[in-house]
Every structure is written in structure tokens, then in C-alpha cells.
């Protein structure tokens, strides 16, 4: 691999290699504030490879490879190489990380306590976390919440926030500095995407865990409503939202039981981001 970059995001170290220079340069610029230790051993390798003999030059097409790979992955256009690298890192975590229970969720912290938001793609969890990150909360991650199976704390994994479609404009109006935004990638397999660099304090404090205090199941695009979610349902849904629950065995079972038993959970349906933020602040304020 001619071009490479070492990254540390939360507890994980990645080595990203690429036959093309452009995606690596884009990553280098966006991650410039993140700590770098070129000599440390990487937990995972991600490689951006040509998807076929000629595809390095002719209609360049990227295949995402690495320590962990999924069969049947569709190749991506080179102009989406940055997204391919981010997806590659997600894939390594999803398939290979064993030091925490991984939940598809975003998380933010205030006063040492963490708010976790879990849901399907499109639920709004990434955008809500990014917006809270600009409103006095510390951003901890938008894709994976890392639950420490020994301590029960949430460990930050603050990668670049992946903004989709309408969320891009919403955050552009929230944030003045253009340097915090990556290139606009149109018509990717996940729609229009633009990456957002997390706030400086989120990066500086990426090794500080927080005790989970509230779990939300947001749903964007539904009539406003808030309702508690029963613990049995929460447990069930979190096993499905976790990429490594089964692999962690008994430790995962104990950790998830403790988490579910001790963290209150609410479903929040909303149509408007600002209104959702108000609801969230209110729920947080009501916590004992």
C-alpha cells in the first residue's frame, strides 16, 4: 500500500492503507487534531484496494479490505473513497472489537454521565448527538457506543460524524467553520454524505469514559411522543443492536443485564430536531 495513515479513535488504533493518495489525504486533513503515534501497533488494518485488475485507473473502483472483511461487499467509486475508509473502520470494529460490548448507538456526555441513543439508520441518533455536541454536551460517538463489560462505563469512540442528506444542511447552519466539514459526497450507497469533525473537546477527552444515565430510542419523522420502554424490550432490542453480544458470551450477558437494569429507557418520536433537543434536555433534567 503506497499511501497510509495511522489513527487512534478512542481505544482503537487503525492503520489505513490505500493505493490511491486522495482518500488518505482527505482523512489526514479531517483527523489532523487526533493523537498520532506512528510506532504504536494498530488494532486493525483497513485497505482501500482496486476492485478488479483495471479498476485502479479505469473508472476507479474501491474494494474495502482489512483484517475483517464481509463477503459480497459492493465496490465504491473512488470519489467516495473517504466514505469507504470510514465504513472500513466501522466494519473492523463491528466484526473484530472484543474489549467492549458494541452497541449501534450515539452517545454524548454531561457531568460525567452519558446519554445513549440507539436506533436504525435514519432514526436521527447521529444528528442528535452532533447537535447536542454543539450545545454544551461532550460528543462521544455517533456510530458505536462502547460498553465496558467490567466497569459498566461508556468509552468514547468519536470518529467523524457521518451526516446524511438533510442533516448536512442542519449542521452547516449550526457550525460556522467550514474546516470542520469534509467534502460533500453525492449519491453514495447511503445517500448524500458529508463528514463532520467532532468538536475539539470531544477529541481531547476521547479517553474519558462516562457512567450511562439515560437510554433513548429516537425515531425521526413521527408524531411527537415520549414513552417509557420496558426492560425486557430494551434488553431484547440491545442484543439486536449489538454487533458482538453473542461473541462476548457470559461477560456480554452480565454487562447488558446490568446496563438494562440500571439505565432508564424512553422512546422519543419527533418531527423537528430542535423540539427533540428540548425534550432530551428536559428528560435529562428530570433524572435523579
Amino acid at each position: 500500500m503506497m499511501h497510509a495513515l495511522s489513527l487512534k479513535i478512542g481505544p482503537a488504533r487503525f492503520r489505513i492503507g490505500s493505493v490511491w493518495q486522495e482518500p488518505i489525504e482527505q482523512l489526514r486533513i479531517l483527523y489532523h487534531d487526533y493523537p498520532v503515534d506512528e510506532h504504536a501497533i494498530a488494532d486493525f488494518t483497513v485497505r482501500l484496494e482496486p476492485a478488479g485488475l483495471l479498476r485502479r485507473w479505469w473508472r476507479p473502483s474501491v474494494r474495502i479490505a482489512g483484517d475483517h472483511m464481509l463477503p459480497d461487499a459492493a465496490p465504491m467509486a473512488l470519489r467516495h473513497g473517504l466514505l469507504a475508509a470510514e465504513m472500513g473502520m466501522n466494519l473492523q470494529m463491528a466484526l473484530g472489537w472484543r474489549r467492549h460490548l458494541l452497541i449501534h448507538a450515539s452517545s454524548v456526555e454531561k457531568d460525567g454521565r452519558a446519554l445513549i441513543m440507539t436506533g436504525e439508520s435514519g432514526s436521527g441518533k447521529s444528528t442528535l448527538a452532533a447537535q447536542l455536541g454543539e450545545r454544551g454536551w461532550r460528543f462521544m460517538g455517533d456510530e458505536f457506543a462502547l460498553l465496558d463489560v467490567i466497569t459498566g462505563s461508556i468509552t468514547p469512540f468519536p470518529r467523524l460524524v457521518s451526516l446524511k442528506n438533510a442533516a448536512i444542511d442542519a449542521m452547516r447552519s449550526d457550525i460556522a467553520e467550514p474546516a470542520r466539514f469534509g467534502p460533500l459526497m453525492k449519491a453514495t450507497p447511503k445517500g448524500d454524505i458529508r463528514h463532520l469533525v467532532p468538536p475539539t473537546d470531544a477529541i481531547a477527552r476521547m479517553n474519558e469514559p462516562a457512567r450511562p444515565a439515560l437510554l433513548l430510542f429516537p425515531r425521526f419523522g413521527f408524531a411527537p411522543d415520549i414513552r417509557p420502554v420496558g426492560k425486557g424490550e430494551v434488553f431484547m432490542r440491545l442484543t439486536q443492536a449489538s454487533t458482538n453480544y453473542v461473541a462476548l458470551g457470559e461477560a456480554g450477558f452480565e454487562a447488558l443485564h446490568r446496563f438494562t437494569d440500571s439505565v432508564p429507557a424512553m422512546a422519543v418520536d419527533y418531527r423537528d430536531g430542535a423540539e427533540a433537543i428540548d425534550r432530551i434536555e428536559s428528560l435529562w433534567g428530570d433524572l435523579p
Binding site: 426492560k231 425486557g232 434488553f235 453473542v246 458470551g249 450477558f253 437494569d261
Partner: protein, 96 residues
């Protein structure tokens, strides 16, 4: 010649890890690595089983000491089905 009724017993204590959650019972089955969310009457049935194999009717007698089981025939039919589903998951053993 009729088949003898099945006899059921529980595995060693260490085979299962049980935890409670809001009226439900979570069971981690170590031999299989599987997790089950279990609702009444299954936890009560599992708790009433010992290491000595018993028939379903004997199990009913034990449960009757603590619970009101309702109509006899229905209870016997029901417990048979519950024991079958527990046995299929490996949470209860059948003596052979």
C-alpha cells in the same frame, strides 16, 4: 407396551446464569452460549426441578405446594409442553 413417562431434571448449577429484569428472567446457558428471555411459568418450573429426574406429574405436586395450579388436566397438559420447550433449548434435561 406403553412408553414410560419422560423424566426431567435440571443441569448442574453452573450450567445456567439467571438474572432478573422487571418480572422477566434472563437465562444465559453456558454450554450453548445462548441467551433466553424467559417468562412465567418457565422460571418457576425450572426452579422446582432438582438433580433427581422426576415425571411431569411429580413436578406438578411440587409446584402445587407453592402455587395454585388450577384445573388438574389442563395443568398436566400444559406443563408437558413447557417442559418440552425447555428441553429443546437445553435448559432442562431428560433422563434416558
Amino acid at each position: 407396551m406403553g412408553a414410560a413417562p419422560l423424566r426431567y431434571y435440571r443441569d448442574r448449577q453452573e450450567a445456567l446464569v439467571t438474572r432478573h429484569l422487571d418480572g422477566l428472567t434472563l437465562v444465559y446457558h453456558r454450554p450453548s452460549g445462548m441467551t433466553h428471555i424467559v417468562d412465567s411459568p418457565l422460571p418457576e418450573i425450572m426452579a422446582a426441578l432438582g438433580v433427581e429426574p422426576v415425571e411431569a406429574a411429580q413436578l406438578l405436586d411440587r409446584l402445587r405446594e407453592t402455587y395454585d395450579l388450577g384445573e388438574e388436566e389442563e395443568a398436566l397438559a400444559g406443563i408437558g409442553l413447557h417442559l418440552d420447550s425447555l428441553a429443546a433449548l437445553g435448559l432442562v434435561r431428560i433422563a434416558r
